[in-house]
Amino acid sequence: MPLHIDHISLASPHIFRSADTLAKETGLGYWTGEWLRETSVNIVPLGPPGNFIEISGFIDIFALRTMTERRQWLLDITETGDHFNGLCLGVDSMEELEGFAKHWKSEINRADDPDPAAHFQRANGYILPMASTPVTKRSVWMLGLPNVYYYPDRTQHSSGQPTHAIPNQVRPTGLKWVEVGGTAQQMADWLGGMHHVEGLPLKFNGKSLGVWAVCVGAEGRDDIVIRRPAASDAVPVSKFAD
């Protein structure tokens, strides 16, 4: 696969309630139990070829006694409810990832960092190796821009793990499109060429940057559209222009 959408992050003030609400709203199942330091994600698989929504939020508010810009951002964008806060693209090799790192004149968050706390961990002891770029002092998500991931071990990809069996569950058949703010040209400028944008199932709505909606195919029923405001609707990206 060339550059593709890997997953979409949905920031939540209460990941259990949000996952339960989304499951009731859409019939999409989710699985739980993956965490990274003071945050955790409930994962909504979207079907082949392997995409997912991660419902992410704080699960350890004790950590918030030490505030950082990122933690404050997450609080600010979830104070009024769920907001899409990240578009996460994917590539299939380290070479491709290095290409994007080079384009952004950046480094790579390495998948082989020996510190378990630097990775998502699962209740069965599995530590998810995941490399990404760019490496910046401030996440590009806060600017409404996507980053890029590479999974050395895709067999344990989050999109392929079994979900809890929810009532009236539907089977997702794949990501159809993602509605984002801004323009195709803005995305092309960020990714390094319109050819990258043309390969992605993106719809541009001209609003502030970030994800505004996700459309998922579903077996035996109409497509499911999950619409939530982008994080930039709660906290303008201009706040982080410096």
Partner: protein, 231 residues
């Protein structure tokens, strides 16, 4: 009929690391139990065999609990001691009538609002508990067990649900003993029956739970944490 052990509450600041560390050290599995109460609580459950389980809870909603006074007392104590704590012991009776009688004997009633939990699988599970009275301190704060009666979904009891499959897990076969503070006489007075029925032993410290022994197919496992009454 004497009450039996239903669950042991473990309060903490992070249910993920607490449950993971507990499984890592005991090899007893756990699973995600969803969320409970007034939307502030996230929960993991660790079945212990013998129809009992450990309920691991923490706050997960930074907004609902921005007012520190809204945070549960056990959360504040776990945060203060920087460790998961044993917050309380909950016993189980079979009927609401039994629960009502026990609550009345302790000068209270059944808590008017049923306790609910929404598991990831969907339908809520509910139980009544007591003793409760307006203004009455939670008996757990004084190290005293409480009682509960599950609504009509005992077949979905947390002790009987599958755990996350992890390498090397043991099979828990029941709580062999509970190390309590206080004295046998005081506990017998509170329970209304012999604490031996619950395999309690007493260490003479402040009332509360200090440790449990869990029988497993690989031998007995001891779980020891600070007691909520001692912090």
């Amino acid at each position: 009929m004497a009450a039996i052990l239903d669950h042991i509450h473990m309060g903490c600041t992070n249910v993920y690391t607490t449950a993971f560390d507990l499984t890592k050290t005991t090899r007893i599995g756990h699973y995600d139990a969803g969320f409970a109460g007034n939307i502030t609580i996230g929960q993991k459950a660790m079945p212990l065999g013998g129809s009992a389980y450990i309920e691991i809870e923490s706050i997960v909603d930074p907004f609902a609990t921005a007012d520190v006074a809204r945070r549960p007392w056990w959360y504040r104590r776990a945060a203060a001691v920087k460790s998961p704590i044993f917050s309380g012991v909950c016993l189980r009776v079979n009927t609401v009538d039994e629960l009502r009688e026990i609550a009345r004997r302790h000068g209270g009633a059944i808590r008017p609002k049923i306790s609910t939990r929404t598991p990831p699988e969907g339908p809520q599970v509910k139980f009544w508990d007591g003793p409760y009275a307006p203004g009455m301190a939670d008996p757990w704060e004084a190290g005293k067990p409480t009682w509960c009666c599950w609504e009509d979904r005992l077949y979905m009891h947390p002790s009987g649900q599958p755990v996350v499959n992890a390498p090397g897990l043991v099979q828990p076969m029941g709580v062999a003993w509970m190390e309590m503070g206080g004295t046998r006489a005081r506990m017998q007075e509170w329970l209304g029956h012999n604490p031996d029925d619950l395999h309690m032993k007493f260490n003479g410290k402040a009332a509360g739970l200090y440790a449990i022994g869990v029988s497993t197919d690989a031998g007995e496992v001891e779980i020891r944490r600070p007691s909520a009454t001692g912090v």
